[in-house]
Symmetry: C2
Subunit: 391 residues, 2 copies
């Protein structure tokens, strides 16, 4: 069957849409990408999203409105990816929509004796179901958190399906806004999968680029700024001490840690020492590579074999970041998803197509060893599409 | 089958829980109340909810956390009503949860050429499904709004089932935080039902009581303060001009109109004239009765027969309000729900039990003539309970 997966990542730049074909044989799914695209948000939306995640107080009415407006943009992305693939909407069985994360609070806050973890993804799925007529499964993280998990990461379920190998132990790294890793030991079962967030992906670099260029640039295209800069040893060693990097998995994080708060703190501490902007970007780039390599060394290599590291996400396009990562992980080879036949940009959207499909068929998709949940649960909420007109 | 309905109304005082029995015969539902109770929120929660609805900026993290914490309180209410009725959770087929409204913005805000209406109910249903193991249908308003409706009112669907009569034309009034009415013309079909919000219910009176007593009292118990006060003609005629009262249905409103903003404006305009607190309460009470009677006169009586007005909701317990209403509507008799055999406090919670049941069975429950939606749609999101453990 054909399923559409939708997500906007922590970098809040637009809607990733993947149209996939899913087939089930002998209880095992096969998933194949038919079409993928990214539909950028209007600039005003991106700014509002960054404001929402900033921690500064916001009128609740803004959030309420944005939830529905982003639902419209998600619905439009679904219609556009179907049109691109020339597949009519009524031949699409399901949509799986992750939505847009605006908060993720996996550390419990106590209410009396009750630990409360929480997360908030917006992009109203009722709007998606209404505009497309397609049954939509959405909002995958809350149920895992209700079951005591961190609600993340969820991509390992797809990583296992695509990359697990009887003879090769692999680490699958995704460098999105945040970077995360899935460790697939050779021949291991789904339940033995290990996965966790490692720290910043592109978020910290992007945040600093935006700040030092006064908003003129949003990313360090091709790693050009980092290449011109010099790594500042004092700042780097300060960053390297960040407790999240050294915390044992399972763990997950987001923009509230490695977004504006960290950008602001780096700018403040560097101002006194008059570090050139390029040096800040160079240092943040090496720190990002460190966050990834250090987590792999301490929490994966120490525990088992590792034949290769396969990297996906926007970070793959930053050659300075990739070179620093390869150097730090040598002699373990580091290669992009494309080298094993998959489009790395599409992985997250494909994940939510698969998770939507599985929930609709009453199959749990959280991996308790990965999220820390007490048990496997059905993720997401089901919003029926067009109903058969009643009499 | 047994179904639990949960809601916390705009007065944000606690969770209403109704356990009902629903039977379907020849396509028509019968619903019977087994047990009902209200489980008050902790005081800290009520304060946070009023802050959220106040319009003042709030950290998004507070909302994110509160959504999950209120989900816990809703789950607890479900467990408690089942225990009260001595029915084990695994004999309960479904939960229908409305959640707690924090914003309702039915007037479209334009994004380019796109009108965006929005609403926000919290009380994470994934938590309810996880804690109870019962499949939960929740968040009923967004789909109707996605279909161009106001997302409210939704109780008319149950009103029709319980109160429609072949020979008598009835107006069903609910005085909750907001007051609304359902007009059931004798012998009319569901599609001919007319219903809309009329203005403040208890919200304005409660808000003023809280303010003038410095927080010592939350409601005017038994209408005692109103009875001691004198209606101020100048203030009353100013209030009577409120445009919402005179707007043609369909229409819906909430705390953002008749909550803190109106309380603040009344206090400011009365301060200069040194009106005694009791006079403010007396005036607000008569204004509330006016909002109801004026809407019934202009938008119901002018259009059709009306044999009786049946009133439910917390407002029934305020004899000053009820007397003012009866006087304004005479000679049409005004009587409480109880006089026709139904517990008025339970109506809203029963509504969401019924709506959850119908959505689960793929029956639309919005009434387009009531909400203004373009078509009947399936309301809500389905969150599966315990899944049959996979192999």
């Amino acid at each position: 069957v054909r399923v559409i997966g939708l997500i906007s990542g922590t970098s809040s730049d637009g809607v990733d849409a993947a149209l996939v074909d899913i087939q089930k044989r002998a209880g095992r799914c096969r998933i194949e990408l038919i079409s993928f695209d990214v539909y950028p948000y209007p600039g005003s939306v991106r700014k509002k999203l960054i404001d929402l995640a900033s921690g500064l107080p916001q009128p609740v009415a803004h959030l309420c409105h944005l939830n529905f407006y982003i639902g419209e943009l998600f619905a439009e992305a679904a219609r556009r990816i179907a049109r691109k693939a020339r597949i009519p909407l009524d031949e699409i069985a399901l949509i799986g929509s992750h939505g847009q994360t605006v908060q993720h609070l996996p550390m419990p806050k106590w209410e009396g004796k009750r630990p409360v973890r929480s997360t908030l993804q917006i992009g109203e799925p009722s709007v998606i179901a209404e505009r497309t007529g397609i049954t939509t499964v959405a909002d995958f993280r809350p149920r895992d958190m209700a079951a005591g998990g961190e609600g993340a990461p969820l991509t390992p379920y797809l990583h296992y399906l695509l990359f697990s190998h009887p003879k090769r132990s692999r680490a699958i790294v995704n460098i999105g806004g945040i970077s995360n890793v899935t460790y697939l030991k050779a021949g291991a079962s789904l339940e033995e999968t290990v996965a966790f967030d490692m720290g910043p992906g592109n978020m910290l670099i992007d945040g600093l680029v935006l700040a030092v260029t006064g908003g003129r640039k949003e990313i360090d295209t091709g790693g050009k700024m980092a290449r011109r800069g010099k790594v500042d040893a004092a700042l780097l060693s300060e960053l390297m001490r960040h407790p999240f990097i050294h915390r044992k998995p399972p763990k997950s994080t987001g923009r509230e840690v490695f977004g504006l708060p960290m950008v602001t703190s780096i700018l403040q501490s560097s101002q006194a020492r008059r570090l050139p902007p390029e040096d800040l970007i160079a240092t943040a780039t090496v720190f990002t590579a460190f966050a990834i390599s250090e987590n792999i060394r301490r929490f994966i290599v120490k525990k088992g074999a590792l034949q290769e590291v396969i990297v996906g996400g926007g970070g793959v396009k930053n050659p300075v970041l990739m070179a620093s990562l390869a150097e730090r992980l040598a002699p373990i080879p580091v290669q992009p998803f494309e080298s094993v036949g998959h489009e790395s940009r599409a992985i997250e959207a494909m994940t939510f197509a698969l998770l939507g499909y599985q929930t609709f068929h009453l199959q749990p998709t959280n991996i308790p060893t990965v999220t820390g949940a007490r048990r496997p649960v059905l993720l997401g909420k089901i919003i029926p599409g067009n109903f058969p007109q009643s009499k």
